[in-house]
Amino acid sequence: MIAGTWISILLLVVPGAASVFYFREIPVATVVGAGIEEVLAVFLYWLRPPNGFFFVDSLSWVFIFMITSIYLLSSIYSLKYISERNATGVKQHTYYLLMNLFAISMLFSAQVNNYGLMWVGIEATTISSALLIMTEKSEESLEATWRYIILVSAGVTFAFISIILIYYSFGTLTVSTILDAGVRNTLFVRVAVSVALVGFGTKIGVFPVHTWLPDAHSEAPSPISAMFSGVLLPTALYVLYRIFQIDPLTSIFIWFGTISIVAASLFLGYQAKYKRMFAYSTMENMNLALIGIATMNPIGILGALYLLISHSFSKAGAFYSSGNILSSTDTKDVARVSGISKKMPLTSVAMLMSSLGVSGTPPFGTFFGEILILYSMFITNAFPQFIIVVIFLVFAFVGINLNVSRMLFGPAVDAKEPGRLMPSIAIVASLIPIVIGAFYMVVNYAIL
């Protein structure tokens, strides 16, 4: 067995090994495990497994790297956050166990070379992450957990019809074999790709099957919200992309993405709770990435990757900052948080950087991603969609930054920084997209 295969196996085994310490020191074991995962992901860039059980190319590597990075940041952030929150729904050691299983299921989906098993992996992400939402066991978190389970599962069930139709059309579910066969445009393949858009679209946040998304993001503990936004939705998008490659239905995908951006920007504008607002921002960014991928030209795909990787860190930063504010003020209402720049300077910097990052401000990586995607829409002749998307991206930009400004400035509410660890992680996460943006040409050369 060659080194790449061992690395892929270890990526699935290490979080499981960390869970062995369930009864003793699982928080530290999880952080150590996540650190090892990050190192393994870096090595995977040079040492890829041959196509067999695993299928790891440059594109899937970007997703694997994102998953391990956000997993590492969230596990460190959780050390303080979870110990301070009222975790009555899920006990602390169970929280880490589920977090590890959640990471395994995402890494499995991003590496496996079989459409059927990808579906199994995506369903497993629901199983492993559902109970994490009800960590604090409020009435709202129970309802959000239930909505997440039933809506996502019912939606992803649709996607299994797509898997059956792919198997019917090709006689195999091996991703590399089907993609090597080239594009096949038959009625059943078209139906399979369209049904996958609805099925996996439920998990990605495609309108109108996105309804679980704001509830789950707002009620989950902040490190889990960061994992949802930063890596769970992109993992589902990765699986959808692999199906889309069989027969690219560009027009349908771009239109769905455009309509979803319109919906997300409108919903985002009137949100009274900051975590829900960031959830809708995730929906907007995911659908923009969907459009980038759907254009099927290298510029669009490159743009989508830039957007996804920068967004994952920016959004993680936004949710970590939200967690700091929630820990300190005990409210999720935008209207009840103001002037925190005076009381929580580190968190305020992270919150400001993150909100600028997720709304695509230069020089953040998200900005370059958005520009590349918009350019690719232009050269794909998607002019009406281009105009609509530009207008509503401006809407979203104003909506997010206006709300964040209200929270940061004005008369100060009673608040204080929750120690040093949590604000530091928030700042690290929110700074990385600037690094990606500033050196995007270098990063471009390095990762693709």
């Binding site: 059927g116 369903e123 497993a124 199983i127 709202e140 039933i150 069930t157 019809i161 009620e219």
Partner: protein
């Protein structure tokens, strides 16, 4: 009676069980309706295993029997509060739901079937595309059960019905590899286990002010 007729008879019975579940207000009756449905699908799988000389289908039938028939029913029944036979879902207008259900299903299924599914040529025996109508009906019936009911139990059963319909669709069209089918079964089982945790905490689901928008 030939084998094809038996398959149609079993499929029709599966559909009747789905309508029976839709018509129930008492939770325990719904769970038992789901049990009958899973057993009927297991029976259909055994018959197709014989017709197609397929060991995979035989294993699938056994998995259905054990995981869906026995284990899921047991898990759900143990979560029903005490005095099981009296636990029911309030505010269910059965005749109205049936009417909406029929309109929804008939329209959805016949459009989809006539455009797409009628041209599918099943690989497995008995090999007629009209058998595909049944899983399609069951799928939408499960979906309707989820959307039309508020109790956690009803929605779990709706989800299990949806999954049952996919099993039926696969065995009628072209059974997917057993490793994948078994993984799907375990996923569904795990999801029902997770869901049953919620049933203890929250029996029904209403709109919440905190989760609006």
């Amino acid at each position: 009676m030939n084998y094809e007729s038996i398959v149609f008879l079993l499929s029709a019975s599966i559909l009747i069980s789905a309508f029976y579940v839709q018509g129930q207000r008492y939770i325990i009756s719904m769970i038992r309706g789901q049990l009958v449905q899973s057993l009927l699908i297991a029976g259909t799988t055994f018959l197709l295993s014989y017709l197609n000389h397929s060991i995979d289908l035989l294993i699938l039938g056994l998995l259905l029997l054990f995981l869906r028939g026995v284990l899921i029913t047991y898990l759900l029944e143990t979560k029903v509060p005490r005095r099981k036979s009296y636990v029911f879902e309030e505010g269910v207008n059965v005749p109205y739901l049936f009417l909406v259900d029929l309109i929804f299903i008939v329209v959805a299924v016949f459009i989809i079937y006539s455009i797409i599914f009628s041209s599918l040529v099943p690989v497995s025996q008995p090999g007629t595309s009209s058998t595909l109508l049944f899983p399609l009906l069951l799928f939408f019936q499960g979906l309707f059960l989820i959307t039309s009911r508020r109790s956690t139990f009803s929605q779990i059963i709706g989800y299990v019905e949806e999954e049952n319909s996919l099993v039926l669709f696969a065995i009628f069209l072209l059974p997917v590899p057993i490793v994948i089918e078994a993984s799907v079964f375990l996923d569904v089982l795990a999801l029902v286990v997770i869901s049953s945790v919620i049933t203890v905490e929250k029996f029904s689901h209403e709109r919440m002010e905190e989760l609006r928008g």
